[in-house]
Symmetry: C2
Subunit: 167 residues, 2 copies
């Protein structure tokens, strides 16, 4: 967490009740924790496989869909802009890790699939990625992890209800 | 969480010990919870202020630095690429919310500052943003928030130690 975030929390303490204040502090900590795990994953993917998290996430989507995905489906699932998905797919195709096949019914639509060597590489990365997550989350013991998981489940239900009301 | 994530968790259960398995489940839940809060914030910023989270975050950085920030500092603090920062800054400048001043010592370097109307708008957005976070995190009572905050603090220390070792 940056110094300026901490300063903000200080200011908020003056004008918020204890529960509001803890809501803001918990949000900053959720964000910081998530960012730290992702930073560690990014560094390790770079160091061990010379790859990036968006490339890994794209290959993970393709691994779950052996029949391939349209570019538009990939963009939606990865929640990134079409331009980024196109750029990453171009690069993976050059490296022989994915193929693009034209849709006979819609010549503008391409279906993207992992190649056998793309799948072999992804499987190796997925095993490492899973071990890293277990290690990174290892700062809490089983009981602590289970309790936080349960409380975040309660928070998740509240968030889903709120999003439904907002829609 | 998508169906495919849930399927993955099922597979992992077969080959991981209870603590490893809970590590993976906790990570998916942390990521889901953080994403749901950010989705709600994005929707509300769009609906109430016709703005985006990256624009809000950029203005938040400038609000904390009344003497302005160089484009390079802004990019670093926002952890996005220079191109995005330039695009957002161009747009905010057109709307009269920020100004760019050339550095007399380095004509390629610009300092970006909020204008008075940029500051007024940001202050309104910041008040709403804070209320939204308190509401979104309101799915847990004070005691639950404090406990999760404390456990995530322990996890954060572990993550910082791990990142130091990785460096």
């Amino acid at each position: 967490m940056s110094r300026s975030n901490l300063d903000n929390v200080g200011d908020l303490e003056l004008r918020s009740g204890a529960s509001s204040h803890m809501g803001l502090r918990l949000w900053l900590r959720l964000l910081t924790t998530t960012n730290l795990v992702q930073t560690a994953l990014r560094k390790r993917l770079r160091a061990e496989f010379d790859t990036t998290l968006p490339r890994f996430d794209l290959m993970a989507q393709l691994e779950r869909h052996p029949d391939g995905l349209k570019m538009s489906e990939l963009s939606r699932r990865l929640m990134v802009t079409g331009g980024n998905v196109t750029g990453i797919t171009d690069q993976l195709e050059k490296e022989g890790l994915v193929t693009r096949t034209e849709d006979p019914n819609d010549r503008r639509a391409y279906t993207v699939r992992l190649t056998p060597s793309g799948r072999t590489l992804f499987d190796r990365m997925a095993v490492a990625h899973e071990q890293w997550i277990v290690e990174l989350l290892g700062g809490l013991d089983l009981d602590e992890k289970a309790r936080v998981h349960q409380k975040l489940g309660k928070l998740k239900s509240h968030l889903l209800d709120t999003l439904k009301r907002d829609a």
